[in-house]
Amino acid sequence: MNISVLQFPGSNCDQDAFQLFASGLGLPTRFVWHKEKRLVDTDLVVVPGGFAYGDYLRCGAIARFSPIMGAVREHAERGGLVLGICNGFQILCEAGLLPGALIRNSSLEYRCITCDLAVEDAGVAFNTRTVGRRVRMPIGHGEGNFRIDEAGLERLETNRQILLRYVDNPNGSLRSIAGIRNEEGNVFGMMPHPDRCFERFHPSRDGIKVARAVLSKRFPEILKESAA
């Protein structure tokens, strides 16, 4: 199980994401610079948080054209796992690998708090059994207000593509959506940071559960390890 964490100019949670998988889960993890054109021997691509390209134009708008994104798209189309966290979620939406878009928080404030999140039953990998009914994860964003047209929203609900909802909506997101998956269930995106809650000194260690649930889509055995 090999993890690749992408690095864009302006990524600032790449080290956190690396540590979540390398030290939190003990998995072989490497960085991949955005100028690379190929992913080598990768099971999960993590698109980390930060401000790729300074969030110029729109969050994620320029990063989606980085050379590595072609390989990420091919990986996703082959059924490979992808997890976008915060700015990574914005990049995946801009790239069309996830539906919808993230706009300015309705408060216009950058919100940096720890949130309670309700876990949804979003398929075999990510659900209340694999993650638990509630998790507590930090957020830190100014553009986390999830938007999608009416038909798209209904598709998300009907297909059970919503992973997480805020208990107390911090940003104005439609239906309090904090994270979604694609229809096929191999591409995951969320504004909350599992990479900021896996050590003893973090506000929770729920990031481990979230990361394991994502990996369980391809590697169901990882859930047994967590029970052991």
């Binding site: 708008a61 801009e94 919808g100 878009a101 706009i103 300015r104 928080n105 216009l108 207000n145 938007r147």
Partner: protein, 81 residues
């Protein structure tokens, strides 16, 4: 030729920035304000003339990069083509 690309939030998409600017305009005494939307203008200058092929290319660039069709509309003004 010179091109101005106007990008605006879609009519049915919430524009938190527009709402805040609208409140400020009202607090400065503007009466009868019905709506405020904040967008952006991208100005390009380039060699070469206008053509149907160029319009198609420009349209694609506007959809792919300069705007996000999920939340934004755009239109272009071309001068000196």
């Amino acid at each position: 030729m010179k091109i101005k690309v106007f990008v605006t939030p879609k009519k049915n998409v919430l524009d938190p920035q527009g709402v805040a600017v609208g409140h400020a305009l009202e607090s400065l005494g503007l009466l009868g304000l019905r709506s405020t939307r904040v967008g952006k203008v991208i100005e390009l200058e380039l060699d070469g003339g206008d053509s149907p092929q160029f319009r198609a290319q420009l349209d694609k660039l506007c959809r792919d990069l300069l705007s996000n069709p999920v939340i934004e509309d755009y239109h272009c003004e071309i001068t000196g083509g």
